[in-house]
Amino acid sequence: MTDVKSDKTASGWSRRDVLKGASVGAVGAATPMFFTKNAWAEEAIGNYPVKGSEVVFGFNVPQTGAYADEGADELRAYKLAVKHLNGGGGMLDTLKPSKLTGNGVLGKKVTYVTGDTQTNADASRTSARRMIERDKVIMVTGGSSSGIAIAQQYLCHELGIIFMCGLTHSNDTTGKDKRRYGFRHFFNAHMTGKALAPVLSNEYGSDRRAFHLTADYNWGHTQQQSMQQFTEAEGWSTAGNILTPLKTTDFSQYLAQVMNSDADVLVLNHYGANMVNSLTNAVNFGMRDMQKNGKNLEIVVPLYSRLMAAGAGSANIDGVLGTSGWNWSLQDDGSKAFVDSFVAEYGFPPSQAAHTCYVQTLLYANACEMAGTFYPPAVIKALEDFEFTGAGNGSTLYRGADHQCIKSMLVMQGNSPSARTSDFDYLKVVQEVDRETANYDPSIFPGELGPYKPA
């Protein structure tokens, strides 16, 4: 943690700023103190240049609200990443190419500050601002939902701070709302549809009729569109789609409508508590034992997480198909190195949210080393179109055009209660979908990354 008082000149405002501001109208933007003095070719952007012997990262995760458990796991991963950056170990041994030394970043020791996003866009921005303005972080990372990620991504772009997204799955994060200063390692709804649809048609046949229940917010909409598009390409038809308010806890009124339709597959475009509730409700309605059109009625959950699976209970998710970005049971070197060190530190295996957060931190640090500077535009250029292996998803590309990682992903299935051996294998890997299948053309989504130097 940084000590605020010992760093008074760098934190808060200089007296000059105050006087300038007081004579309102006569001033332009508040210029940082160090603007003229340390004038290298690289000008001051955000909290660059980094002063002192330490560099601070900001970890902004949900600590209160529905995603608090996921946030806690993200924070564990971040702390582990800091430990490895300063002392070696974990994926530092497997990430290639890598310039990480295990001796800090660019000779500076990595420290961190934490904050609570409260899963509230306004609160997450105020928290990120504290890290940026007071604690002088060079990079912010975290988040467990897309709205929050997008809100922070815009803020960080304006302030010239790189934002490494945590768990966010909406197409918009690297689509309509992509920003030059925002990067996403996690996969997205479009990739889910692309990877899942062939598996579904293989498993359930190509003449299915799907009914969608969709959480009425941006992620839900993009997830539903992707699922509809790719299942229809497999020959399925779509019986209907009902938008459900985000706050819904009882889905029986919607399920009643689904049962009255002629659909034989129910797609739940829900995440978190929404998914736990809608799936449990559907099971209570006996939908998993129902026959429609002479076939078994099937339920699909496009985006899976371990916590959601645990929340719904294994009896309810038994056999249900969905996708995940990563799972601790993977046996490649990168995953093993990460899981082993995580288990050694905390006593249980990490979630996919922990994985993406850990990798994001390492990738940022590595980009700084490769660029030889913390200067944001140089770091951004180092991350753009960076090809790497050894981080758990095979050979991966950080695509420069939209800042989306293109990598392999997983189709998952709920484990039956009898096959489950611990609290951490609610889900099993059915298929690893390769990078080429998950890949797509970035130009299908609108949006501009914006300039390398913030306005």
Binding site: G65, A66, I242, P245, A256, N260, N284, G286, A310
Partner: protein, 300 residues
């Protein structure tokens, strides 16, 4: 999308009834406390929260039967303790103070439960005898083809009806009830008459909490078990109480069912379903100043 077939209509009717049942159970305790004690209790949702966590823990460890007996009893005692330890000092304080202290309590309860159980959902398994579905088309011959409904949700509706009947019986058939009803109308007068209203108020608060306990045991598997549930129910249950009319039990029942039906029958249209509850609130309160069945002079 809107389907007016007999099957769809029947399903939506059942669903409305079942959604309404939970509202009724929670609002019943709230309106009892509201009407008799004059306390705006923002912690009532948190009492329900305590109930569902107790229910799922006891049920997992010792079976559902024990949870059914223990949870309402524990909640009753908890209610007494809460009234004696905290609420009684707020009878003559402004509503804003009551809101602040009970909202603070609700946060404390929610965060403590989160600390113990985590923020994630705890699966609440329905007991074996309540699991499965009811073939509605076998019971109601006018239905076409195959119509099913979860058995547990029907049990919830029945429990709700029984609870409402029991509370009505208590208030209308016993001396205790007579005093309480009189207290709801005019607490001052009762004091002049020398009735020890304080002890009865304590019991009323316990009763309100106990109803939340019953709601938790049967509602837990339906609303699910996570720390957010209490706050989610706070606004709708207050709306139910106010639409029904402050301190009116009949009103709370009527309003609970009304809101449940409104949600069920507008489910096909998100633009309507998200505002319908508030729309009903506005219309009812503008047309009927004290809610559907509210008494004059209460909380005005």
């Amino acid at each position: 999308m809107f389907d007016l077939s007999i099957n769809a209509f029947f399903m939506q009717l059942l669903t409305g009834l079942q959604i309404g049942s939970i509202y009724v159970l929670i609002a019943l305790g709230l309106t009892l406390i509201f009407g008799t004690l004059g306390v705006v209790n923002f912690a009532h949702g948190a009492l329900y929260l305590v109930a569902i966590y107790l229910a799922v823990s006891i049920s997992d460890a010792f079976g559902f039967g024990l949870a059914l007996v223990l949870v309402p009893a524990i909640l009753f005692v908890l209610g007494l303790a809460m009234e004696r330890g905290l609420i009684q000092y707020f009878y003559n304080r402004p509503h804003t103070d009551q809101i602040l202290v009970t909202f603070g309590l609700a946060i404390v309860i929610q965060e403590l439960l989160k600390w113990i159980f985590g923020a994630n959902n705890v699966p609440f398994a329905i007991p074996q005898w309540g699991n499965g579905i009811i073939m509605m088309h076998e019971w109601f011959p006018f239905l076409e083809g195959f119509v099913v409904y979860p058995k547990w949700r029907m049990i919830l509706v029945v429990v709700s009806i029984v609870t409402v009947a029991a509370v009505f019986a208590l208030l209308h058939l016993t001396t205790f009830g007579l005093v309480i009803r009189a207290g709801m109308r005019d607490p001052e007068m009762l004091k002049f008459l020398g009735v020890n209203i304080n002890r009865r108020f304590m019991i009323v608060f316990g009763l309100g909490a106990m109803i939340a306990g019953i709601a938790g045991v049967f509602g837990g598997p339906v609303t699910q078990v996570s720390p957010e549930v209490g706050m989610h129910l706070l606004v709708p249950s207050f709306l139910v109480v106010v639409i029904g009319g402050m301190g009116s039990l009949g009103g709370a029942v009527l309003a609970g069912i009304l809101i449940g039906m409104a949600q069920s029958f507008t489910a096909h249209d998100i633009n309507l379903s998200t505002i319908i509850v508030y729309l009903i609130t506005v219309i009812v309160l503008l047309v009927r100043p004290r809610g559907l069945l509210g008494a004059k002079g209460v909380f005005e």
